[in-house]
Symmetry: C2
Subunit: 384 residues, 2 copies
């Protein structure tokens, strides 16, 4: 396996040579945004849906992933006849700014030092920066108003930022399994991820590319931990319980009783090692930081309702009962904020034992919710 | 700081040259058990309470810790006039087998290779092995029956194992914030901890002592992650929220927006770095494994009630509402198992927002529960 492969794939993208000024004040130029579209833009250009991906997702939403060879991350949701129906809607999905699947990110060369990648000198990115980069593509496609913006987890943060920053452009918004701000506990988990990466000797202060290395073990540990937070106790118990299997590596020497490991351990190790083949450590650092900064109330004396005053966007907030990373209590704070702003809001809590990842998995109630909300909104928008 | 300091402290202990046969079949000899006692053993030898410590606890229960200089981990609970009243009871606390505070563990020399520490070749230990090592000390003290065994988290597992393995010896048992088996989610968290240690280059396959090194960064990451699981979302929000402070290190270069970090990050880093000064990585591996193996039903077709059939021990199970590592649902499984065994059981769920660590913190309702249960049991036992 060539561990540096991800850098060498060509991704469909738009290039914006003039770039954009980031929230931190830095002028990032050029800016490249990699994207994929599904379905057909109507003549009236009124049927576009932006789907925003989560921390480790990307633009390969509903097609075979060019790196992993697996189906796109929302193939079960987006396609002809599916809840996000590409026979009806034009779906755009873009790799986030700071990512590693073709959009400008830490692996790109610095404009001021040709041939030298940004690495950890890449400027800090916010969720709003991600959304403003996405708007460059939407504008370039000649779309002045999005029918909807949909996304889960960090994708949900982008949905909220779209509606807050460009209120006239978003007819309907569906923030899923998300929160009006990143909680202390979630910042804490992200920080442990980052420390795991920093602790890897192959991290080389973020300049691992110079050594032809990647901090694979640290990144794998980060992913393993994060993966636990995406599931639920019930899901782990149902899938693995306390079942054991032989340990193929016996990493800890004799410390393993009878040379066995628990199946859940084997599963996590696989999650960790497959992740490092497709994700860049500096992007992981940049994007987790962006999540940590996210706080809708930050510029408004802590009031997350303020960005939405006067909004005409119709919202459907979705949470899942067993999601403890973005629990229903946080979705409820969001619903209250939107209610205070007198927005048009519905709030659906889906009964699921699959944890935070439920929005990516087979949950018929959730599918019906997505389909129903978009159909209803399309009727009001008189499209399709 | 001399990072190898912990090895060189003298701890009060008993030595058992004939050792003991471990559950894995290995004859471990000699066996050394480090212990502390508080209060006075009565002439009838009927007032002894064994307090069992958790994963990273030790025998310094109610006195200044010789390494950290801090008060013992249960100083607020154990002492004259306190809920575990040393004016009345004789309290014994022992470092667990496999630990690093004086009991036989991976840092000890191998009997077959003089001068060579066990490291990862230390045999796997179970919770029952820990309890059987403790019984050697109790026997040596001439105590044929314990008035009570009390402990939280992994200490609670030991309480259950004491009552299951030596039913005639335990008059009262108080398993706190614990479970009848280690859950898949908790095994998963432990596994990430272990992988973080394995990923540290200073781990040297467990033979770090040969390099005069310790896997400090990996162990710190393990501790940081575990520490999150000991708290609760509410506690983290209350203590830190989204407050920021200047980043003294700026570890990730420019990636930190305005050079600030969140206070919760700074707190976790401190937790990680102070932990590595007092704990041994191989002990961490050994003890987390022991927790993972714990399953009261394992030898009984998965029925955790079986070990308690006919028991005369009186149990008081305690859980905390915000504990998501050992949630009330698991305590309830334990209560049901003990009920099926027709044991004398009470079950108290304490309302607390402090998470798993609540049993170590200021929770007046919990203090009253401990005091009340022990007083009531002492009356029945006609002691004190």
């Amino acid at each position: 396996m060539d561990q540096t492969t991800p850098a060498h794939i060509e991704h469909a993208h738009m290039l914006f040579p003039e770039g954009m000024q980031l929230e931190c004040g830095f002028l990032l130029a050029p800016v490249r945004v990699a994207y994929r579209t599904y379905g057909t833009l109507s003549a009236a250009r009124d049927n576009a849906i932006v789907v925003c991906h989560a921390l480790t997702g990307d633009q390969y939403l509903a097609e075979t992933h060019p790196l992993t060879g697996k189906p796109g991350w929302w193939s079960r949701m987006v396609g002809p006849g599916l809840p996000i129906d590409t026979d009806r809607f034009f779906v755009i999905c873009m790799n986030v700014l700071g990512g590693c699947m073709g959009s400008t990110g830490p692996r790109d060369p610095r404009p001021d030092m040709p041939g030298e990648p940004w690495g950890t000198d890449f400027p800090p990115i916010t969720i709003r920066d991600m959304v403003r980069a996405q708007k460059l593509v939407v504008d370039a496609l000649g779309i002045s108003r999005l029918f909807a913006v949909v996304g889960g987890s960090m994708g949900g943060m982008q949905v909220l930022e779209w509606a807050a920053t460009f209120p006239g452009m978003v007819f309907a918004a569906m923030p899923i399994a998300t929160s009006p701000f990143h909680s202390a506990q979630n910042i804490a988990f992200n920080e442990v991820s980052r420390q795991a990466i920093f602790a890897d000797p192959e991290w080389h202060g973020g300049r691992y590319w110079e050594q032809g290395a990647i901090p694979a073990r640290g990144l794998a540990v980060a992913r393993m931990m994060a993966h636990i937070t995406y599931l639920s106790e019930e899901a782990l118990t149902r899938k693995f319980g306390r079942r054991v299997r032989r340990d193929p590596y016996n990493q800890a020497g004799a410390m393993s009783l009878f040379g066995e490991i628990f199946e859940v351990e084997s599963y996590l190790r696989h999650q960790g090692s497959s992740f490092v083949r497709r994700f860049d450590a500096n992007s992981y650092l940049t994007i987790t930081r962006a999540m940590d900064y996210f706080d809708l109330g930050a510029d408004h004396d802590g009031d997350p309702s303020r960005p939405f005053h006067g909004t005409r966007t119709r919202f459907c907030i979705v949470s899942f009962t067993s999601d403890w990373l973005f629990p229903t209590s946080q979705a409820r704070l969001l619903a209250r904020a939107l209610n205070r702003a007198a927005a048009n809001v519905s709030f659906v809590e889906i009964d699921s034992d699959k944890g935070h990842d439920a929005f990516l998995l087979d949950e018929p109630d959730f599918d019906r919710t997505v389909r129903g909300f978009l159909s209803g909104a399309a009727e009001h928008a008189r499209i399709g």
